[in-house]
């Protein structure tokens, strides 16, 4: 009897072994989703991966305008890099405020944010994500990897340039991290994915890293103005290095104005020219401009997002403004500016300075109710129409063609002048000449030209606002001039209608509490 049981059991177990499927499990592979091993069998994958790194600033995920986000934890439309960067660098200043009720968004202008602020937290995640993307690209394109995949010489040479651009993009995001938080989780391509808790990089460490990276890639980047449109070249790296040096005193307490001036000079000597008409820099065909050194490219049909330029064109339109004049189907009625900024233009809303583009009809100068779009002047800067007034390519009027000018020549001129004033060498008359080029463009003549005597740091700060407002420079400028928190007052700063100063620890943003919980290596910034 027992024997029979044994036999039967063996038979049955044998049957089970036949249908066993351990191998099937081992062999189960994703469909329509390549792994790192297989994806680079297609040589075009390297270029597509690099495109993702650039697109990481412009769009929110793998489905335009939304649907497959890069970042979790915040509405996808809000989670876009450039939109959040604009929030943190503009809404926190005198240049802009917003009327919406989205979470803690108003705290940005009130300067009373906490470490739980989701916009600061998601920007932090975005920056870290962008760095991770670049790290992965660099990991996947080492000589060893390329050898193992048998990549041919031509493609290899191209990949060498891609790698340099990925390192530039990583340096750019580390620069944003340094500017906004000073300390940041520090991870490079040397760290394997998912296996480590990144240590907290000090400001000095991150500063040094950005500097060394930008210097190291100079040889591999394509020469200034020689690369395909929207890809970074040597001039973009020089510009970033110049910005790093110009702010070095604030970031790490070291005076590097001379280095800043040297880098800016290289940019200025690279044959960029000022766009003759200021307003054309912000239109749907601004990719034609020879002033823009490094853009973030958008397209109404092929590069769609609810952040980036879609936000920058739609959100400031409301009240009596005509959406059609902006080449869009409707305004989002959110963003306006404060009287403090309006007053930077002589004659305010009726200034002869053509950089003044306020829309005042139905709008009041002063802001009683932050939520009311018609409290505060509107700013008609970014538009989805070309210089002939034709709307962009998206017939629905949702997504603009307008590109974002992240670095442009006017900024370089202003930086040269500032570096010179701060003792960075160079020539004061050259500096005055650069400034007057900007002012002649702004006034259409030389009536508002300045002399060396007029060129003061205060003038520079105000001129930067007039020239570069709403282009993500203001917060950095105010911090560098020590006017962001404990000095400097504008309406609704500190959540008071007339404005008040705030504590200077807010010159830095807090590290998000979620990351403090996830990573024991991190210490919160002081004050938070």
């Amino acid at each position: 009897m027992l024997n029979k049981i044994r036999k039967t059991a063996l038979l049955a177990l044998g049957l089970m072994a036949i249908v066993s499927c351990t191998k099937e499990i081992d062999d189960l592979k994703p469909i329509n989703q390549a792994t790192a091993d297989s994806v680079f069998e297609d040589p075009a994958a390297y270029r597509s991966f690099l495109a993702k790194i650039y697109a990481g600033i412009a769009v929110s995920g793998q489905q335009g305008p939304a649907g497959n986000p890069d970042i979790a934890g915040l509405d996808e439309g809000f989670s876009n890099y450039l939109r959040l960067y604009w929030y943190l660098t503009e809404l926190t200043t005198d240049e802009a405020l917003i009327g919406w009720n989205d979470g803690t968004i108003k705290d940005l202008h009130y300067q009373n944010w906490t470490a739980g602020n989701e916009f600061i937290g998601t920007m932090y995640s975005r920056v870290a994500y962008q760095i991770s993307l670049c790290n992965e690209f660099i990991r996947q394109t080492t000589d060893d990897k390329l050898d193992s995949r048998g990549v041919d010489a031509d493609l290899r040479a191209e990949i060498q340039t891609y790698r340099a651009e990925a390192r530039f993009m990583r340096a750019l995001s580390y620069y944003h991290a340094l500017d906004m938080w000073r300390t940041f989780p520090f991870a490079t391509d040397a760290d394997p994915v998912g296996a480590t808790l990144p240590p907290q990089g000090s400001a000095q460490q991150i500063f040094d890293y950005i500097e060394s990276e930008l210097l190291a890639i100079d040889g591999d980047l394509v020469g200034a103005r020689q690369n395909e449109y929207a890809r970074a070249d040597k001039a973009a790296a020089w510009m970033l290095l110049a910005k790093l040096y110009l702010n070095a005193e604030v970031y790490v307490g070291t005076n590097r104005y001379n280095d800043a001036r040297l880098q800016v000079e290289k940019v200025i000597n690279s044959n960029y020219t000022l766009e003759p008409v200021y307003g054309n820099l912000f239109l749907a065909d601004n990719d034609q401009s020879n002033e823009i050194i490094f853009p973030i490219a958008f397209d109404g049909l092929y590069t769609q997002a609810y952040g980036g330029m879609t936000f920058m064109v739609h959100a400031p339109v409301g009240g009596d403004m005509s959406p059609a004049a902006f080449g869009i189907n409707g305004g989002w009625a959110g963003v306006r500016t404060t009287s403090t900024f309006v007053e930077k233009f002589p004659g305010m809303a009726n200034s002869s300075d053509m950089r003044e583009q306020f829309f005042t009809q139905g709008q009041s100068l002063e802001i009683n109710d932050v939520s009311n779009f018609q409290d505060g002047y509107a700013v008609a800067k970014f538009k989805n129409v070309d210089r002939n007034g034709n709307p962009g390519s998206d017939p629905s009027g949702d997504f603009p063609d307008t590109d974002f000018p992240m670095f442009r020549l006017a900024d370089a001129y202003l930086m040269y002048a500032e570096a010179n004033l701060r003792g960075g060498g160079g020539d004061i008359n050259t500096a005055v000449g650069y400034i007057n080029q900007l002012r002649e463009r702004a006034y259409g003549n030389s009536s508002a030209n300045i002399s060396a005597g007029n060129l003061t740091l205060d003038f520079i700060l105000n001129e930067r606002a007039r020239e570069l407002h709403w282009e993500c420079h203001r917060r950095t400028d105010l911090v560098r001039f020590n006017q962001f928190t404990s000095n400097g007052v504008w309406p609704w700063k500190g959540n008071v209608p007339s404005g008040t100063t705030t504590a200077s620890f807010r010159d830095l943003f807090p590290l998000p509490t979620s990351d403090l919980s996830a990573n024991p290596n991190l210490q919160q910034n002081p004050g938070y």
Binding site: I5, V19, N32, Q62, A72, E136, V193, A333, S517
Partner: protein
């Protein structure tokens, strides 16, 4: 063999007194209650394998010897033994088995009896199901079992409910129980609780709910959230052709409306608050009246059953047609169920084939209309210029950011889906010829579903807002969900009476493979073309398992059960792929001990103890451990020069992802008092979930995502579950059964992140609120229950009115910011109960089910997002206004105060789920039954919203559940 010896012995003993004389006895077996003959009753001479079964008329005839004992047995009825003393006729009346101790219960890979079970499990059969026009099967169970919560949040026709057995205990992994339909485990989706709505509730014979680890651990990696085994109805051998037609006609109505300002109140509010009256219309529109209607439904079931000598067949056709109360929403199910059973090889081989096919047609209404109806200006008319409907306009046509006419959202859009599904399996059960104690069981099955949907919109509709050259939105979507299964097991059952031991051992192997894919194509409204879509990446999962169970019963009193399962899942990397899940259980039939045997009080007493480890692996995608690359679509490309380059994104991954593990301890007591007049069970459990699968923040910079599936966290769950069944009256004419259950439970998070410090805030969770983008109101924090509301403490004036924007400075730093929020209650109830009463007097019956919940809280998101002045007055562009909650008149709030604890309300409730009255007309050859049922009869609650029962705990534009009246007619021939 032993039995044979025994009977030989018995016969030898009897031989001298009675002459060995064969005679024939015959008779009719009838049912006590209905007095109808019962076909298919087993009639066996005790101690032998000799026997027969009753024929179609309940008649039998058998050759017997004097002194033989005849055993009459039939499933669901008390077995009767009658000694033969020379009678020629023996008529037997079978009574329903009330003790139910010998009732067979289907468990994982086998069956047991109530008496032999060591785990905490509960069988709920069709008699105790909820009454009414029930479309989705899980609603049959609401309020019927302790520890089981069934929450249907939506009144959308055909929508399912969230099922929680012992609260689940996981954080972001699937907390839905595993559902096993006739031996086929169905795919449970964390985001889609409605996996069984294609199954016809009429065809469900019973549910077995497995609660503790001794019962569930045989399902290993999918068992932590509990298991529900569904057994469908089958035919019976030797039974006459039975034809049954069952009809339920229902009509449903909205129970109540959300309190919004009326047109007059609204106008006054605008005037009083300095608004521009010129922007208002002159109509008086109650938008809620405009979007809801009475909903009719009809459920038809036609069933044929017939039993032959060795086989039986059951065929059921079901048409369920249910309109929703929201205009245009409709659900229709056409289902055909077949079951065929055949016994071959002298009853040694049993073959059962079961097939459940269905066509489910849905017409989906745009549920955005529900919120829009609350928000839309009540002074504006319904009719207007855009497809016949009013819309807010500006000089360019429809105002871009104004709300859309709720009626147009419903009537100018057409969104239909058909899902075709078949769940079939064939089960072979072979008793070895040379060793009948050993069975070999094979179950091969599949679940295959295809769905196809498409939507069209009217080009003139305001919500399309078309510019010249643009096309109206339309699109298609479709997908396939399939799983296939092969289970093999051996079962050896032997009564070793010499050592007073029964053994029952099972060992087997299981293979199941899942595949799910879906894609959508939307018209590019700019070009009028369908853009190419990125080929979808399907979900794939293979689960291979070895399992075993050993059951030893000593002296008919001490029962030991051990189970073991080893699961191999393709979800995890090679190193983490295998998970082992043991359990052990012990039960002691105390009432069979000498000291209780003759007790008048305790008719049954059983003590149960169990321990076991179960798993949870259902989270996210199929390859979360593997780094993959996702291509971008046409709209997410990036410009390099004159070319747009498609992007390629590396996805984050977690190589060390593995099972979530739960260890459960259970102490239980099954009792029957006073001849089982009162019976039930009491269970206490303690469960610790560790390595909890969480979609949690990743340390910034360490991975290619900011959130990833990770094994971080621990929770502890505890609970007490009490079930009481009471039969106050039971006689020939009148029976009254009361069944109640009561549950106390809680869950606490013990660990949440790598770096839990006393000051750790935790992780925000739950649905995104309306009223601002991306805001969440719930949080998971160590030391608290999951999904706690994270809010500011509202300050009130001396009259008890809330002071706008004034909150308690909880940390005392003189600044009110995020760090002053606190955790206040949660949506999970502290206690819940069900109460069912069933009475029958002669042919009349009356029953009702009450269900309640205590200590569950709800965030009233409608009030928080629409109950302040700016929500009404400050609309984008200032060219229109939005309606608001009447709460604005109470609070007077001007600005959004959505994080105030004012909006977290006690949502404890008691609901009359259904009341039913029925009458059976006993014709001779036919049965006829008529019934009237009211569903969702009333709710007693302090909660100010429409319905205190919403699973997420956030009340925001939920499809309201109607009150339904049902007429039921049933003909059985």
């Amino acid at each position: 063999m032993k039995t044979f010896l025994n009977s030989l012995l018995l016969m030898a003993l009897l031989f001298p007194s009675i002459l060995l004389s064969q005679s024939t006895v015959s008779g009719t077996v009838t049912e006590a209650a209905s007095t109808l003959p019962v076909p298919g009753v087993n009639v066996i001479i005790k101690g032998t394998s000799k026997g027969t079964t009753t024929d179609f008329d309940g008649k039998y005839s058998i050759n017997v010897n004097n002194g033989d004992v005849l055993v009459f047995s039939y499933v669901g009825y008390a077995t009767q033994e009658v000694a033969f003393n020379g009678q020629t006729t023996l008529n037997i009346t079978l009574a329903e088995d009330t003790a139910k101790l010998d009732e067979v219960v289907v468990i994982g890979y086998g069956t047991t009896t109530v008496k032999d079970a060591t785990g905490s499990l509960e069988k709920i059969d069709s008699e105790t199901f909820n009454k009414g026009a029930i479309v989705s099967p899980e609603n049959l169970l609401a309020g019927k079992s302790a520890g089981v919560r069934i929450t249907s949040s939506s009144g959308s026709p055909g929508s399912g409910a969230e099922i929680r057995i012992r609260n689940g205990g996981s954080i972001s992994a699937n907390n839905n129980p595993l559902i096993v339909l006739d031996g086929v485990p169905l795919y449970g989706d964390a985001n889609n609780g409605n996996i069984i709505n294609s199954i016809n509730p009429n065809e469900i014979e019973s549910y077995t709910i497995l609660k503790d680890a001794s019962a569930t651990a045989i399902y290993g990696s999918r068992a932590t959230a509990g298991v529900i085994i569904i057994t469908t109805k089958k035919g019976r051998t030797n039974s006459p052709l039975k034809v049954e037609y069952d009809l339920q006609i229902s009509t449903g109505k909205l129970t109540d409306k959300v309190d919004v300002l009326s047109a007059d109140q609204f106008r006054q509010y605008i005037i009083d608050n300095g608004g521009n009256e010129n922007l208002l219309g002159s109509a008086h529109t109650d938008w809620q009246d405009q979007i809801y209607e009475a909903a009719e439904g009809g459920i038809h079931n036609v069933t044929l059953t017939k039993g032959f000598k060795n086989s039986s067949i059951r065929v059921n056709y079901n048409l369920a047609n249910q309109n929703g109360i929201l205009l245009t929403s409709q659900y229709r199910r056409n289902a055909l169920n077949l079951n065929y059973e055949h016994r071959l090889l002298d009853d040694h081989l049993k073959v059962n084939v079961s097939s459940k096919g269905s066509f489910v047609d849905n017409h989906f209404a745009d549920e955005g209309a529900i919120g829009s109806a609350l928000f839309f200006d009540p002074t504006q008319p319904v009719q207007g210029n855009y497809g016949g409907y009013f819309e807010f306009e500006d000089e360019d046509g429809v105002r871009n950011l104004a709300p859309r006419n709720p009626v147009s959202l419903l009537l100018l859009r057409d969104n239909r889906q058909r899902a075709k599904r078949n769940i079939s399996n064939i089960q072979l059960d072979y008793k070895f010829h040379f060793l009948p104690e050993l069975r070999f069981n094979v179950n091969a099955g599949f679940d295959y579903e295809e769905y196809d949907g498409r939507y069209f919109t009217d080009p003139t509709a305001g919500f399309n807002n078309l510019n010249d050259g643009q096309f109206a939105a339309q699109g298609t979507y479709n997908g396939i969900n399939k799983n296939r299964l092969l289970d093999l097991y051996l079962n050896y059952k032997k009564d070793l009476s010499s050592i007073l031991t029964n053994i029952d051992i099972t060992a087997g192997h299981s293979y199941q493979r899942f595949y799910r894919v879906g894609k959508a194509r939307n018209l590019n409204t700019s070009t009028g073309n369908f853009d190419p879509v990125v080929p979808p990446s399907p979900f794939q999962l293979i689960l291979e398992s070895y399992f075993g169970r050993a059951n030893f019963t000593l002296a008919n009193k001490y029962i030991f059960t051990a189970t073991y399962r080893s699961d191999i899942s393709s979800r995890f990397s090679k190193d983490n792929r295998v998970g082992n899940f043991p359990s052990a259980g012990f039960s002691w039939l105390t009432s069979d001990e000498d000291f209780l045997k003759d007790s008048n009080t305790f008719s049954n007493l059983k003590v149960r103890l169990s321990w076991g480890i179960t798993g949870q692996q259902d989270i996210g995608g199929s390859f979360a451990y593997l780094g993959v690359y996702s291509p971008g679509d046409i709209g997410s490309q990036y410009q390099f020069g004159n070319q747009f380059v498609p992007t390629l994104r590396p996805e984050g991954y977690n190589e060390s992802l593995k099972w979530e593990e739960a260890t459960t301890y259970n102490v239980g007591l099954d009792y029957g008092l006073f001849g089982d007049k009162v019976s039930g069970s009491i269970d206490l459990y303690y469960r610790k979930n560790k390595d909890i699968l969480q979609f949690a923040p990743v340390p910034a910079g360490s991975n290619l995502e900011n959130f990833l599936d990770q094994n971080i966290g621990e929770t502890v769950s505890r609970g007490i579950e009490v079930g009481v069944n009471f039969s106050p009256v039971k006689n020939e004419n009148f029976t009254w059964d009361i069944s109640t259950n009561f549950t106390l439970s809680d869950v606490e998070i013990k660990k949440l992140s790598l770096n839990d410090t006393p000051g750790s805030i935790g992780t925000l969770t739950g649905p995104t609120l309306s009223g601002g983008v991306g805001n969440k109101i719930q949080i998971n924090t160590v030391g608290y229950e999951p999904n706690a509301f994270y809010v500011f403490k509202q300050v009130y004036d001396s009259d008890g009115h809330p002071l706008e924007g004034v909150y308690v400075d909880l940390n005392g730093d003189n600044v009110i910011n995020d760090s002053d929020k606190y955790r206040y209650q949660s949506p999970t109830p502290d206690a819940f109960f069900g109460f069912t009463s069933s009475m029958s007097y002669k042919n009349l019956d009356f029953s009702f089910t009450l269900r309640g919940s205590l200590g569950n809280y709800m965030y009233n998101n409608f009030k928080s997002a629409n109950g302040y002045g700016q929500a009404i007055l400050n609309q984008v562009g200032n060219q229109h206004y939005g309606n608001g909650s009447t709460d604005v008149l109470n609070t007077g709030f001007v600005n959004n105060q959505q994080f105030s604890d004012l909006y977290v309300e006690n949502a404890s409730f008691m609901k009359m789920d259904n009341i039913s009255i029925g009458y059976n007309v006993p014709f001779d050859k036919m049965k006829f039954r008529a019934s009237l049922t009211a569903q969702n009869v009333f709710t007693i609650t302090k909660y100010s919203g429409l319905d205190p029962e919403i699973a997420s705990g956030v009340d925001n534009n939920v499809y309201p559940k109607p009150r339904t009246f049902v007429l039921g007619l049933n003909f059985t021939y």
